[in-house]
């Protein structure tokens, strides 16, 4: 009997550990950072301590753990299970489930539906395009700004604060400000009033461009989004890279100076390699963030996620959200799993590349 008990305990632990490994990965993509930073951290700490010290019987430990466990079970573990379940149930409908008795057939119909659905392909295209454009751009910009910030003495604190502002500002609010900046009232009419961006490019003799209004082109929409996303992603990256720069030994630069190294070469041959761990981190998190892009588009283009008459600018997360709103939980779950798969693969590729190129 004791043996069986041990075995069950073993399963219990193994199951829990596996579940939470999955949960850990999953919630990185699904749950807001509050969850990440607080609940999961506390839970992991308490959980590990519990296992390490073999205090399974101790009700106190479970009591202290319970808030975190309950919240995690409801908001992280259950949704993961549910997503998996719903993705493979054919013709699933939440109302039917509530009704009770209906059994669903298991299969890949949801995935097939999602992939065959043209709007999903459009979403995928938008997401990939935004990712591919914004991540390298924002990383390079952040690197340049970080190097500049690191090399100036006066006002560096002040400028750091300025560059960090987007990080603490609500993305919907920023989106609305961007909308105002790019907006044109009365396009191509004599009394047209253009936004500040068009005014500025007007100084260089460029005709006002229809960025986001009715009839605007897809590339114009994407340009606005890229500018927005890059600007929004900069502060975090600058912060990480600046931290990395400040920990680089100054003597490398002195040695380079003695060897009469041109500035550009110092940057490419010394600064970038020495910062490579930070750059890898920034790129990986950038890609993950890029695939989850959603709120910026809502912020600028509203919930329709497209300029009036323009091409849809919906993204993967947006598609999942829309499907849920249309009571198609099966498709939403399947799309979420596909997104997870894509992020997983991209991250693996990133890690693989950075392992080769990164100097630790």
């Amino acid at each position: 009997m004791a043996n069986a008990k041990e075995k069950v305990k073993g399963w219990f632990i193994e199951g829990f550990v596996k579940t939470f490994i999955v949960a850990w990965i999953w919630q990185t993509f699904c749950v807001k950072w509050v969850w990440q930073t607080f609940c999961v951290k506390w839970f992991w700490k308490a959980f590990c301590v519990n296992i390490l010290y073999k205090k399974f019987d101790s009700y106190k430990a479970w009591l202290y753990l319970s808030p975190a466990i309950i919240l995690l079970l409801i908001f992280t573990v259950w949704p993961i299970f549910n997503t998996l379940r719903m993705a493979f149930w054919e013709r699933y409908n939440m109302l039917q489930e509530i009704g009770g008795t209906l059994k669903f057939k298991l299969g890949f119909k949801n995935f097939v539906d999602v992939i065959n659905y043209p709007r999903f392909i459009q979403c995928l295209k938008n997401t990939l395009l935004l990712c591919v454009l914004t991540v390298p751009l924002s990383t390079i910009l952040a690197l340049v700004i970080a190097v500049c910030l690191n090399s100036i003495k006066p006002l560096s604190r002040f400028l750091q604060t300025i560059f960090f502002l987007p990080y603490v500002t609500n993305s919907i609010a920023i989106g609305m400000v961007f909308e105002a900046m790019f907006n044109i009232v009365g396009y191509k009419t004599p009394e047209a009033s253009v936004g500040i961006i068009n005014t500025v490019i007007g100084f260089f003799g460029i005709e006002p461009i229809n960025w986001i209004n009715q009839g605007s082109a897809y590339w114009a929409n994407i340009t606005v989004l890229v500018i927005y996303i890059v600007w929004n992603a900069l502060p975090f990256k600058i912060l990480i890279l600046l931290g990395g720069l400040q920990s680089v030994n100054k003597q490398y630069y002195e040695a380079a100076k003695v060897d009469s190294t041109p500035r550009l070469r110092v940057f490419t041959r010394i600064t970038v390699p020495l910062l490579s761990p930070m750059i890898a981190y920034v790129v990986i998190t950038g890609f993950i963030g890029g695939f989850k892009e959603y709120s910026s588009i809502v912020g600028i283009f509203g919930e329709d996620m497209q300029a009036v008459g323009g091409e849809s600018l919906n993204t993967m997360v947006g598609y999942i959200y829309d499907s849920l709103a249309r009571n198609q939980q099966g498709r939403a779950s399947a799309a979420a799993l596909i997104l997870f798969g894509i992020i997983f693969i991209v991250t693996m590729i990133n890690l693989g590349v950075s392992k080769k190129k990164t100097h630790y």
Binding site: Q251, A255, S260
Partner: protein, 377 residues
């Protein structure tokens, strides 16, 4: 390349902006280093020797004074235009590059007429690597090398572009004792083979003594004495220099001169001839003691350390200013075991007198002030 420093001064502004206190790191440094010599800048920490080195390298600008390489005034030149090789205390090897890439790095920066082809660069790099005997480690990363090997890579990187002057900042301080001995021989050998004027900084007098052609002893930013190692040891210019050089250190006594005779305590130990009466510091090198039955100086014996070649006698005296008196005598001399006192005669040329207030040397008898180093040596 001859290196000449004229009235070199470095003053750092005070951190505290309200007070106008300045830190004088180097004050009025004058030195001429003949071509192809190995010069050691020696002094306790904080004496401005590294600052001097960095001023020669150009990484720091002197507050006043001039630096000449040969006849060229390089004071206003930036480091990259001075043609120097600098080896940092912690070597500053680029961690992400292999040894080869590290050594090639300075060559790849060359521009214009100096620009080299890949083959030439490799040839030069391998030549430098062979010189410091690391040509078998060329494909390793610095993290895969020992401290001594890293040191050699750093020297190779500094040498590869054929600098006019090689500067080494505490080159041996990061090595363990055995490696230190080995590496200093190595530095000496490399310097001899290349014939590049080399300046190195150290706080270890033994290191400086063993490999330098010329030693510069510094204290609080002021040059105390410049000379060949043996000359400085034999003829220190003041009490600081006498104390700083030599292991075991010099023994210092409180003494007085009266009627041409030197007294330590109540004992008359030497005739010093024409020296003004008054209190003096008496420095006696450990090898300046000669034990004798009728010796002039009586010391309380505390220990005899037999070291094979010679014997070290540790004793004490009321007038001494150092912790103990340590004298080194020939092993032939047998000291009677259990003796309570030991008597010494002093060798006049190993006894130095210093002024009580200025701590400057007082020369007596056949002693005379050291001659400044001549340019040819």
């Amino acid at each position: 390349m001859k290196v000449e420093l004229q009235n070199l001064t470095k003053i750092f502004p005070s951190r505290n902006k309200k007070s106008n206190e300045e830190v004088v790191a180097v004050s009025d440094f004058n030195l001429t280093i003949p071509d192809g010599k190995l010069v050691g800048l020696l002094g306790p920490s904080g004496c401005g020797k590294s600052t001097t080195l960095y001023m020669i390298s150009g990484l720091q600008k002197p507050t006043a004074g001039k630096i000449f390489f040969g006849d060229e005034d390089v004071t206003e030149l930036s480091p990259e235009n001075r043609g120097i090789g600098l080896v940092f205390q912690n070597y500053a090897l680029y961690p992400h590059m292999t040894v080869k890439q590290n050594i090639l790095f300075p060559l790849q920066n060359l521009k214009g007429a100096d620009k080299m082809t890949k083959e030439q660069m490799h040839e030069r790099a391998y030549k430098a690597a062979r010189l410091v005997q690391i040509d078998e480690l060329m494909d390793r990363k610095p993290s895969e090398l020992s401290g001594g090997q890293q040191q050699r890579v750093a020297i190779a990187r500094a040498l590869v572009k054929m600098p006019r002057v090689l500067l080494l900042d505490e080159p041996l301080s990061n090595l363990d004792a055995r490696l230190r001995l080995q590496t200093r021989e190595e530095i000496r050998r490399i310097q001899k083979e290349t014939g590049i004027t080399t300046i190195f900084v150290t706080h270890d007098q033994e290191e400086a003594m063993s490999i330098s052609d010329v030693i510069v002893v510094m204290k609080l930013g002021v040059v105390q004495q410049v000379g060949k190692p043996q000359e400085i040891y034999d003829n220190p210019i003041n009490l600081f220099v006498a104390k700083f050089l030599g292991t075991p250190p010099i023994n210092v006594f409180d003494g007085k001169v009266k009627d041409g005779a030197l007294y330590i305590g109540e004992e008359k130990v030497l005739d010093v001839g024409k020296v003004n009466d008054g209190r003096v510091f008496v420095g006696v090198r450990p090898e300046g003691f000669v034990p004798a039955e009728d010796g002039a100086l009586t010391c309380k014996l505390s220990n005899v350390e037999v070291m094979g070649r010679d014997v070290s006698i540790v004793s004490s005296n009321k007038a001494m200013l150092s912790q103990t008196i340590r004298s080194i005598v020939d092993a032939d001399y047998k000291i009677s075991v259990g003796a309570e006192y030991v008597k010494f005669n002093l060798k006049p040329h190993k006894v130095f007198l210093f002024d009580e207030y200025t701590e400057e040397r007082i020369y007596f008898g056949s002693q005379s002030a050291p001659t400044p180093i001549d340019e040819e040596m």
